[in-house]
Symmetry: C2
């Protein structure tokens, strides 16, 4: 069996007291776990889940691949954990940064903007989610804490049609999907070297999306 509470969704809750002294050779478990998630995310994002090798991840961490099983049970766990982490973070972010009142079209614009900013600021992890989530088994995928983002968009479109800020001839579902595409597609072309700041990009995209449905 694996190290107790390890590898089961919620990981070790920061141990009791160990991180007092500087670790020369060994790394602490939580530190290592974070490194593992980070390396895994980077590798999944660049090569894809199936083309990623545990051997490669272990190499990047400077350990043997068998040692990874101290932290995980299966390779799929690793993908799951990476995605779960970013979903949780996104949920937090969007719930605290998007206004709950005002004209629907404005809230829509704000939601898209925050979504894009988050996407860019966590590009590696969001890439893994958007590009590799369907490599999870159906059972595992069902366990993901998905925040119904499309439903939220669709709801805002409907609200906007009620308060008159969004055109009545827009199909809510289609409109939401079009906007989602504009926003999510960012992960396919954004490069940090570009000359526009994440916020500028997010602003422009959000504004464009707004215009596409505004009354």
């Amino acid at each position: 069996m694996i190290g107790g509470t390890r590898a089961s969704g919620a990981r070790r809750t920061a141990g009791k007291g160990r991180s007092r002294r500087a670790e020369a050779t060994r790394k602490s478990g939580d530190e290592r776990w974070a490194e593992l998630l980070q390396v895994a995310a980077k590798t999944f994002a660049s090569k894809g889940y199936s083309a990623t090798t545990l051997q490669g991840i272990a190499n990047d961490l400077g350990m043997l691949k068998g040692s990874l099983y101290y932290y995980i049970r299966t390779k799929e766990d690793l993908l799951f954990e990476v995605i779960q982490a970013v979903l949780v973070l996104a949920e937090e972010r969007l719930s605290e940064r998007v206004p709950v009142d005002g004209p629907a079209v404005e809230r829509l614009e704000a939601l898209v903007r925050e979504h894009v900013v988050f996407l860019i600021e966590h590009l590696t992890e969001t890439t893994v989610y958007l590009h590799e989530a369907d490599q999870l088994s159906p059972e595992r995928r069902a366990e993901l804490p998905v925040h119904g983002f499309i439903a939220r968009l669709e709801g805002l479109v409907v609200e906007g049609q009620e308060d008159g800020t969004i055109r009545a001839d827009v199909d809510p579902r289609m409109g939401a999907l079009v906007i989602l595409g504009s926003a999510n597609w960012v992960y396919r072309w954004y490069r940090p070297e570009g000359d526009l700041a994440p916020e500028e990009i997010a602003d422009e995209i959000a504004r464009t999306c707004r215009r596409s449905v505004e009354a």
Copy 2:
């Protein structure tokens, strides 16, 4: 070595004269090649390139995996051929169906509509292109007959700003990317069981994209 002209971009040019009689047991090579491309595309689209096994493809075709090497040299070839085929087809389609004159914003709308229609009508192959093309080695990817679709969109935005049909405050590149995202995202959600016809979906998306940049 492999069967001569086989497996090198341009495939056998339909053999000389064989397809006279009905083949009971054996299939003709060209027929088989088409089946192979089809099965490969379907498998790549559903499981991803790396998770696809030549064994699985061979099974679907009712042959042994070793026999596949009569048609291909490597697994990567198979991915390349699938993508190349759909790119060539798309190029033909878009060049014959999109008007070359009229207001730029109208040509933009038409281009998006035709793009989406094509995407849906060749969903399997376009999915392989959009989702798996980056599994090709850089060298192989460079050989793809890419039609500069983004550049074309961007050009239309610029034209539209010149002829006054598109807002001046739209960044051409960003506008093109947003539109491309809206259109390409279709491959992520379209299901044939849906109640909207491909043309209806394409119309709605194209109209929405138009509104997002129209003056």
